[in-house]
C-alpha cells in the first residue's frame, strides 16, 4: 500500500509541475501524449504488450471499458445513482447494429450507429423513468433485474438471433490514408518491421488496431463534452442532488429530471460503446452480455474513484487490462476480482484517484484535526 501511495504522490507532484508550465508547453505535452496513445499498439513495448492475446484487440477492449466507464461515471459518479444493469444499454447498442446491419436489414455500420445510440437513450429513459424514484439500493437491484431481463430476452428471441446470436455484423467504413509499421522487439531492441503494418483506417478482420484508433477518437470527443457538461449548471445540479436531494429540490433543482438526464446520457454512451463493439467483433450473442460485465463496469468506476474522470479512466484500464495481461491465470480471474472488490471496499473505498470533493473533504478533515490538536502552524 505504501509503495502505491508514494508512486501516486510522485506522479501527482510531476503533474503539478506540468500544470504550472506555460500554455504552449502544456499543449505540446498533451499532443505528445495523444500521439503516444495512438502509437501504443505499434510500439509493442515489451512489458506492456500482452503475450497471449492480440495487443490491438486488448487495447480495443480497454477503450471500450473506458468509454463505458465514462458513461457510467455520469450515472454513478456525478449523479450518485447505483446502476447494476448497465450492460443492458451496451447490449441495446450492439444489437441495434446487429439487427439493422445484418439480421433484418443491411444498413452500413455508420448508419446504424446513430439509431443504436438513440435506441439506447430511449431504453435509458424507459428504464429510468419509473425506477429513479427508488432508494439507492433498491435502484441497484431493479437495474440488475433489467439487465438480466434484457439478456434473457435476447436468448429467447429468435428474431434477435436467439442463443446463437447475429453474425456478419457490418464493420465501420474503411479509408486508406497511410500505413504505420510495427516495432519488433524480439531481438532485444526496437527494429522497425516494415513487413508488419497497420493501415489508418482499414477495418478488416485480423488487424484490431484501427478499431482501437476509432474508439480512442470517440473517447476524446466524449471527454470533451463530459468536461463541458460537468462544469455547467447540469453538473452542479447533479452534485447538489447527490449531496442532499431534498435541499436541492427546495433550491429549485428539478432533481428527477436531472437524474433521468444522467441515466439517459449514461445509456447513450453505453449504447455507443456497444455499437463500436459490434462493429469490431463482427458477431454478437447474448453470451457477451452477462451480469458479470455490469459488475465489471461498476467496478471500473468505483476502483478508479467514482466522480473523477481521470480516476475512472485509470479504473477501467486496470479492470480491463490486467485480466488480459495475465491471461494464463484465466480460471482464477473472477475469484481474484471478487477478492479485489472486497479489499477495495475495505481499504480504499474512495478509489485510486478519488474525486476532488473527497480529496478536499479529507484535506479539510486533516486541517481540522491539526487545528484541534494544536499542531497547525497558522489558523
Amino acid at each position: 500500500m505504501n509503495v502505491f501511495s508514494t508512486t501516486l504522490e510522485r506522479t501527482k507532484a510531476l503533474l503539478e509541475r506540468a500544470k504550472g508550465m506555460p500554455k504552449p508547453a502544456k499543449i505540446a505535452i498533451w499532443a505528445l501524449f495523444v500521439v503516444f496513445l495512438f502509437a501504443l499498439p505499434v510500439l509493442n513495448i515489451p512489458v506492456i504488450t500482452t503475450p497471449d492475446s492480440d495487443f490491438g484487440g486488448v487495447l480495443f477492449t480497454v477503450t471500450t471499458y473506458v468509454l463505458v466507464a465514462l458513461g457510467l461515471n455520469i450515472v454513478v459518479g456525478y449523479a450518485g445513482l447505483l446502476d447494476l444493469g448497465y450492460v443492458a444499454f451496451y447490449a441495446v447498442g450492439a444489437y441495434t447494429v446487429g439487427v439493422l446491419g445484418s439480421a433484418h436489414a443491411h444498413l452500413p455500420w455508420l448508419m446504424t450507429v446513430p439509431i443504436a445510440v438513440v435506441a439506447a437513450l430511449v431504453a435509458g429513459v424507459i428504464i429510468g423513468a419509473p425506477t429513479l424514484r427508488l432508494r439507492g439500493d433498491y435502484l441497484a437491484i431493479v437495474t440488475l433485474g433489467f439487465g438480466e431481463i434484457v439478456r434473457i430476452t435476447l436468448i429467447n428471441s429468435s428474431w434477435l438471433g436467439g442463443a446463437s446470436g447475429i453474425t456478419e455484423v457490418p464493420r465501420p467504413p474503411s479509408l486508406t490514408v497511410f500505413s504505420v509499421p510495427h516495432l519488433d522487439w524480439s531481438s532485444g531492441s526496437p527494429i522497425v518491421d516494415l513487413g508488419n503494418t497497420t493501415t489508418f483506417l482499414k477495418f478488416g478482420i485480423t488487424d484490431q488496431i484501427p478499431y482501437y484508433w476509432l474508439a480512442l477518437m470517440v473517447i476524446f470527443v466524449v471527454i470533451f463534452f463530459d468536461k463541458r457538461i460537468k462544469d455547467s449548471r447540469v453538473g452542479r445540479a447533479w452534485e447538489a442532488t447527490r449531496e442532499d436531494e431534498d435541499a436541492a429540490e427546495l433550491m429549485g433543482v428539478p432533481t428527477f429530471r436531472f437524474k433521468l438526464l444522467a441515466f439517459a446520457m449514461g445509456a447513450f454512451i453505453g449504447g455507443l460503446s456497444g455499437a463500436l463493439f459490434a462493429g469490431k467483433q463482427g458477431f454478437i450473442s447474448p453470451d457477451s452480455f452477462p451480469l458479470l460485465l455490469s459488475i465489471l463496469f461498476v467496478a471500473a468506476v468505483v476502483v478508479g474513484g467514482a466522480g473523477n474522470r481521470k480516476g475512472i479512466i485509470l479504473g477501467a484500464i486496470v479492470v480491463a487490462y490486467f485480466p488480459e495481461r495475465f491471461r494464463e491465470f484465466q480460471e482464477w480471474r473472477v475469484l481474484v476480482f471478487g477478492l479485489a472488490l472486497m479489499m477495495l471496499a475495505i481499504f480504499r473505498p474512495q478509489g485510486l484517484i478519488p474525486p476532488r470533493r473527497t480529496v478536499r473533504a479529507k484535506q479539510a478533515d486533516q486541517k481540522l484535526e491539526a487545528l484541534e490538536e494544536g499542531t497547525a502552524s497558522d489558523a
Partner: protein
C-alpha cells in the same frame, strides 16, 4: 392457458414447495436488511454452501435410495445439521470479514454493495474452483467424487424417493412435497417465536427500529448483528436441504438465481417483515409457475425479475409492509 388449467394443481403444489425454499432464504435477506439496511448480496452463497456440505455428508455416509426409514431419517437429520451449521458459519464469517469493517467506518451504501458483490463472487468461485484447490494439496484424485465436475451440476444421491401420499384432484402429492412444506413452515414458526419471545430476538427488533436507542438501552449492537446473520444463515441451511430433496442437484452458481428470487420474495412481502418473507416466497413460487405456464418456461426467470420491478414501482413497501422493527411483541 390450457396448459395452466390442465396442470393447475401440480403447478400449485410445485409452486408452494419451491416457494417454501424461497421463503426460507428470503428470511435471511429480510433480517439483514431490516437490521442493517444492507442487501446481503452474498446470502446466495450462504445457501449454496449449505447445499454442498449437505450433499457431501450424505455421500460420505453412503446414502442411497431404498434404504430403511430410520436410515433415511438419520441421513436427513445429518443433512440438516450439517447444512445449518455450514450456512450459519459462512454467514457469520461474511459479516465479520466483508461487512463489519465497513460498518465501523460508516461506509456509504455503494461501497457496502461492492463488498457484498465481491464476497459473493469470491465465495462462488471458490466452490467453482474446488477441484483446482484440492489439486494444490494433491487431494483432487482422492476427493474426486466431491470436488470433481467443479463447474457443472452435481447430483445428490437420492435418499428419499418421492412417493405419492394423497391426491388433490389430478395431482399426486408426494412425501417430499409434504416434508418440504411442513418443514419450512415449522422453521418459520420457530423463527417467529425466537424473534418475538427471546431476548436476542427483542434485541434484533430494537436495533432494526432504532440502533442508537437500542445501544442506549444496553443492547450490544455487534452481537445482535452477528446473531441476525447467524439466524439468516441457519434458515438458508434448512432451505438448502429442502432444495436438495426437491430438486436433487446443485452447482457452484446455484445461489445466484435463487438469491435474486428470494430477495424478490422478501421485497414482495415487505422487506424487514418476517411474515412478509413467508408470504412473498409462496406468492413468488406460485407466480413463477403460473407465469411460465402462460408464457413459456424459457421465460420463467423473467417472471421473478418483472414481479420485483412491478412491486418496487407500485407498492415498494410490499404486500405486508416493511416492519422488522414493528413486529408486534
Amino acid at each position: 392457458m390450457q396448459y395452466l388449467i390442465d396442470n393447475f394443481f401440480s403447478l400449485t403444489v410445485t409452486g408452494i414447495t419451491l416457494g417454501a425454499v424461497y421463503a426460507l432464504v428470503a428470511l435471511g435477506y429480510t433480517l439483514v436488511y431490516g437490521v442493517l439496511r444492507l442487501i446481503n448480496f452474498a446470502h446466495s452463497e450462504v445457501f449454496m454452501y449449505g447445499t454442498f456440505t449437505a450433499m457431501w455428508s450424505v455421500m460420505l455416509l453412503g446414502g442411497h435410495s431404498g434404504a430403511s426409514i430410520p436410515a433415511v431419517i438419520g441421513w436427513i437429520v445429518v443433512m440438516f445439521l450439517v447444512a445449518m451449521v455450514t450456512s450459519g458459519l459462512v454467514a457469520v464469517g461474511l459479516e465479520r470479514i466483508a461487512y463489519r469493517p465497513l460498518r465501523k467506518r460508516n461506509a456509504p451504501p455503494l461501497i457496502s454493495l461492492i463488498s457484498a458483490i465481491g464476497a459473493s463472487f469470491a465465495l462462488s468461485e471458490l466452490m467453482g474452483l474446488r477441484d483446482k484447490l484440492a489439486g494444490f494439496f494433491g487431494l483432487d484424485r482422492k476427493l474426486g467424487a466431491y470436488v470433481g465436475q467443479a463447474r457443472n451440476n452435481v447430483a445428490v444421491p437420492e435418499i428419499l424417493t418421492p412417493q405419492p401420499v394423497f391426491t388433490i384432484v389430478d395431482y399426486q402429492v408426494t412425501n417430499v412435497d409434504i416434508l418440504v412444506v411442513v418443514g419450512a413452515i415449522l422453521m418459520m414458526i420457530v423463527l417467529d417465536q425466537f424473534v418475538r419471545r427471546s431476548r436476542l430476538g427483542r434485541g434484533i427488533r430494537a436495533v432494526a427500529q432504532d440502533p442508537e436507542a437500542a445501544a442506549l438501552m444496553g443492547v450490544n449492537r455487534d452481537r445482535v448483528i452477528q446473531v441476525t446473520f447467524l439466524v439468516g444463515g441457519i434458515m438458508a441451511g434448512a432451505a438448502a436441504v429442502f432444495y436438495l430433496l426437491r430438486i436433487g442437484i446443485t452447482r457452484y452458481d446455484a445461489g445466484f438465481l435463487l438469491g435474486v428470487k428470494a430477495f424478490t420474495a422478501a421485497v414482495l412481502g415487505g422487506i424487514g417483515n418476517l411474515r412478509g418473507a413467508l408470504i412473498g416466497g409462496f406468492v413468488l413460487g406460485l407466480a413463477e409457475n403460473y407465469g411460465s405456464a402462460l408464457i413459456g418456461t424459457q421465460w420463467k426467470d423473467v417472471v421473478a425479475f418483472l414481479l420485483l420491478i412491478v412491486i418496487l414501482l407500485f407498492r415498494p413497501t410490499g404486500l405486508l409492509g416493511e416492519s422488522l422493527g414493528r413486529t408486534r411483541a
